[in-house]
Symmetry: C2
């Protein structure tokens, strides 16, 4: 065998497939095969394995937020009342149910969590902030950073 089990290293061809699919997830298998330099059959097998083994978690269309009433981006730092595992778990369970949360990360530093939120506009955010965010379990305070300009958003991974 080539590797132990989980950390199966990617060879040059697998890496090329991942890079191309990250760049354009709708590439046909035959086009992908040409770009990668293998036959369509081999490319098909490789790609299917990369999906099956979890290297690719999904393929998603990148919809322009402005076109679907989600033009406003907001970053929010959250501090909880208590730093107990139960408190964290309750917060995380609740926040997973909010559809406007794009990112939620537990961080080390002045905040407990960092949120990335997309809404229609500032008025929409203020409404959601008052009715949903500060109502989350255990929230002591929040600090809001309105995004005035999206310089880079969701860049692809360089590897």
């Amino acid at each position: 065998m080539k590797e132990s089990s989980e950390g199966t290293q990617l060879d040059r061809i697998d890496s090329k497939i991942l890079r191309q699919l990250q760049r354009d997830g709708r590439l046909s298998n035959s086009d992908l095969a040409k770009l990668v330099g293998v036959s369509p059959a081999t490319c098909h097998r490789r790609t299917e394995r990369l999906f099956r083994e979890g290297y690719v978690r999904g393929v998603h269309a990148d919809i322009d937020p402005k076109c679907i009433e989600r033009g406003a981006l907001v970053m929010v730092g959250v501090v909880l009342d208590r730093s107990t595992p139960e408190s964290f778990a309750a917060f995380e369970t609740a926040i997973r149910k909010l559809p406007f949360i794009l990112d939620c990360h537990l961080v080390a530093g002045d905040f407990d969590y960092f949120l990335k939120i997309r809404v229609r506009d500032m008025a929409d955010f203020n409404r959601l902030h008052g009715s949903q965010l500060i109502a989350l379990p255990g929230v002591r305070q929040t600090r809001t950073f309105f995004v005035m300009k999206e310089v880079v958003d969701g860049a692809i991974l360089d590897f």
Copy 2:
């Protein structure tokens, strides 16, 4: 005509197509047509228009960062020396060239910019922080928030 020009409103079918492609960007046209409830020909025409007119900015495979040596996520707040347009422009031009920057947003609040960065590990970040981040033009100070747990990352837009 139905709408003025830019703000062309999406009808129910367009919205369904966008939602399905955001969920699974590799859906075949025939499967997509079944899910949306139109003929393959109509679905093809609609989808092609949504891409052509910019509703869909791209389709990207979501690669598991742990599989490609990008398991560490870091949020960084940046304050610049001066708040001049030239200073902002220089910073933005420089940061667009750094491949490990996933997000970079100009914000209102205690920081000028918020960054989202993916690297291999903390040691990797410390090296890049010292050699690349604080060397960016006009950077007065940075505040680093290591992500200890990714609760939600890159959720799809709910609309």
